[in-house]
Symmetry: C2
Subunit: 121 residues, 2 copies
């Protein structure tokens, strides 16, 4: 088995090992993989893990910023599990690969609200 | 000019754009580049930006975990600036590329202490 946590037995994970890690829903469907994190410049807090969803090797896929807290690592699967189905993602906030959103407060609130979370900043 | 902040005008930066970004000291010497972040699994807090120091394309370089807070992005340089010289790095906590330290509390304290910082966790 491989996966970011297998390589990092402590409480910390390496960003470059999380990038590319598979994301599954609770039914076991592979939704996509993590393309990257979005990190607060000043505090160093990771705000989003960005899911790349669908397509061959993720090229041209839409990007879905997910609040960090909704991802749970599953050792057996070697990937992250989220309580989301494809229908939920159909309507979710997303952007094209080369087109970053502004990630301002209004955008952050809309993303967190979509996943039923309070925007904490 | 390129650099992670040029691509991310807001308060957030993308992890995969920071990886590979150059790190300079205050004298303008290029020390190396960021190889990756180390992130707290539960909280999503970035604890270290890992500096890859010396050598061609960074292969085989030692890795120096730096507390996130000592890095400052400099737009003109297109990279991070740290108040460290090579002599300080000569004695700094480091590890080989494929050999992760445990990143336990004792290790964290030793790293933060080396850079004159209080370990905040």
């Amino acid at each position: 088995m491989s996966g970011p946590e297998a390589e990092n037995p402590g409480d910390l994970i390496a960003s470059d090992r999380v990038e590319g890690t598979a994301v599954y829903n609770r039914a076991g469907d592979r939704l996509g993989h993590i393309s990257n994190f979005m990190v607060d410049k000043r505090s160093g807090q990771v705000r989003y893990a960005v899911l790349s969803f669908g397509g061959f090797l993720g090229l041209g896929n839409d990007r879905y910023p997910l609040p960090w807290s909704i991802l749970n690592y599953n050792k057996d699967k070697g990937g992250y599990v989220v309580d989301l189905d494809r229908e939920k993602l159909d309507e979710a906030p997303r952007h094209l690969p080369g087109v970053q959103p502004d990630y301002d407060e209004a955008y952050g609130r809309s993303v967190f609200s979509y996943y039923g979370l309070i925007y904490p900043w």
